[in-house]
């Protein structure tokens, strides 16, 4: 058996996980600073230059806090649920292509952990598993607010996952593949419209799907204005009301890593991933993912929160029909042969 690719993949996965954790830490810092700017405040700036050491201070604080288990909690499930959430969060990043193969110490190293032929579906599957951390945590807390948060989260994730998946079908039809590497290759081509040379990004050929994906992704990661499961003014942080210390931090980590992973996937699927002017590379992916993350923060600072029934109505009455229309139109275009973009 050839062990080398396996070890290289593991090493790359290890590096990726650490990069994600670091990015997550600074995502919290960035979010607090950005929201502060939106709100005419300063934000954390006392710990280190520009408050850059704030995430570390937060982490130390969270780890050193008491780990409280409520008396009427379902103890085993309560202890495991945040771990489940945290473990599943970075798995989606495994299929993101961070670039072409490079040569390190004379060896071909692919800048992705794995390239499976169902990568996009794999991402959806991991996302759908991620809800277990929330629902079990909310159930096990033995708190009615947590339970309501868990129920909301369940209904929300199921509804929006449908939209999320269906919004990608147009891309699958155009590329004929579910592999993110293949999708990236297709986007690296050039689209010629008349005299205009444009990158063949799916943002241009699937704009409706892009909008749908964006909305559904915000809902999928439980961020404002779809942060109903953890609506602090209604449900007092919802499913993690009873969590404290490092178990709380696992939920926190999971939420931010989910955001980053979704941003990476969105950048890869719709914005051409590592494709960009001048030289292709992972920096373009980082820039695009940052745009999405900025968008997340912007939404949070601006919009009020939906009500639960409005949220479900939006998913089932607006987004789902639009996604189906998008699939139909894309399929027809592809069928009549003008879709060989």
């Amino acid at each position: 058996m050839d062990w080398e690719p396996l070890i290289v993949s593991y090493l790359f996965g290890f590096v990726l996980l650490n990069v994600l954790l670091l990015a997550m830490a600074y995502m919290t810092w960035l979010e607090r600073r950005l929201v502060a700017f939106f709100q005419d405040r300063i934000g954390p700036n006392r710990t280190g230059p520009f408050g850059l050491l704030q995430p570390i201070a937060d982490a130390v604080k969270l780890i050193s806090k008491e780990d409280i288990v409520p008396a009427n909690a379902d103890r085993l499930v309560f202890l495991v649920a945040p771990l489940l959430s945290f473990v599943l969060a970075p798995l989606g990043a495994l299929v993101v292509p961070f670039g072409d193969a490079v040569t390190v110490f004379g060896r071909q190293v692919n800048l992705y952990v794995i390239d499976i032929n169902v990568a996009a579906l794999y991402f959806l599957a991991v996302g759908s598993m991620g809800v277990y951390g929330i629902i079990l945590g909310g159930y096990a807390s033995g708190n009615r607010y947590s339970l309501l948060g868990a129920l909301r989260s369940t209904a929300q994730v199921i509804s929006y996952e449908l939209v999320l998946g269906l919004s990608l079908v147009g891309i699958f039809i155009l590329t004929g593949s579910l592999s993110l590497v293949d999708i990236l290759r297709v986007q690296q081509r050039t689209l010629v419209l008349g005299g205009l040379e444009l990158p063949n990004w799916f943002l241009l050929s699937q704009p409706l799907a892009f909008v749908l994906f964006l909305i559904a992704a915000v809902a999928e990661t439980n961020r404002a204005p779809f942060d109903l499961p953890e609506a602090e003014t209604e449900l007092i942080a919802g499913y993690f009301t009873e969590y404290s210390g490092f178990r709380f931090s696992f939920y926190f980590l999971a939420e931010y890593i989910n955001m980053i992973v979704v941003s990476l996937i969105a950048a890869t699927l719709f914005l051409g991933g590592i494709d960009g002017p001048f030289v292709d590379g992972v920096w373009w992916l980082a820039v695009k993912a940052f745009i999405f993350l900025f968008f997340y923060v912007w939404l949070r600072a601006t919009l009020p929160r939906f009500r639960y029934d409005q949220l479900m109505g939006l998913a089932w009455k607006v987004l789902l029909p639009l996604a189906l229309i998008n699939i139909g139109v894309t399929g027809l275009v592809r069928l009549w042969g003008i879709g060989a973009l």
């Binding site: 058996m1 579906l121 599957a125 277990y132 079990l136 868990a150 369940t154 209904a155």
Partner: protein, 240 residues
Amino acid sequence: MAIEVLIFYLLAGVAIAAAAGVVLARNPVHSAVSLVLSFVNVAAIYVMLRAEFLAVAQVIVYTGAIIVLVLFVLMLVQQQDLPEFHGGRPLRRAVGFLLGLVLLAEVAAAILTRSLRGAPGSWPPEAVAAVGGNIQAIGRELYSVYMLPIQATALLLLAATVGALFLARPELIEERLAVARRLFTISLAHPRGVDPLQPVAELPGPHDNERKPAGGDRVLVMARNAEEFTEQPAWGEIRR
């Protein structure tokens, strides 16, 4: 090769243990979680068999949707309302055991006949590779040979959905809401509950105050002095 076998046994062992946990757990939520664990392990075995699409579909559909819905229902129902898990009459338990055995025998028969005969099926690895991969193979097979069953299944699911909607009966919720409005709201003293015949204040009539557009297609009436109360309007179309 040995390492793959080892992994397979690991996955299979966890799957079986989890499946046993489904039956043995006292708490229905624990049962559901065990089922999830079992499904995930089975999905991993699918991956080892190079059926990635099947594995992912298993995770998305079964663990991602169905078991989540099961959990949803379990949480809505109070624990003490659930039927006794390990109870039941002896006859029912015996029948259940027999049915389980029959099911096991059927699956075993299917597997054994297929593997004993050594028939590889209509899609050998070369044929799968020829069409581009197992996803493409499944797609072709589903939408050519099995077109009619697919449509029939879709129709069946649609009918089931409509039936579920009918059973849940939204108008019943409306009815109950109406009852709740009449009875169960603790605004015990509001006039409709106490004195329905006597309106407390007469509705204001038409008016000629300045109206100021205020956004959201609403207008605000700008009352200049208090004498205009009786001519005050402001209201009328929207009734509860």
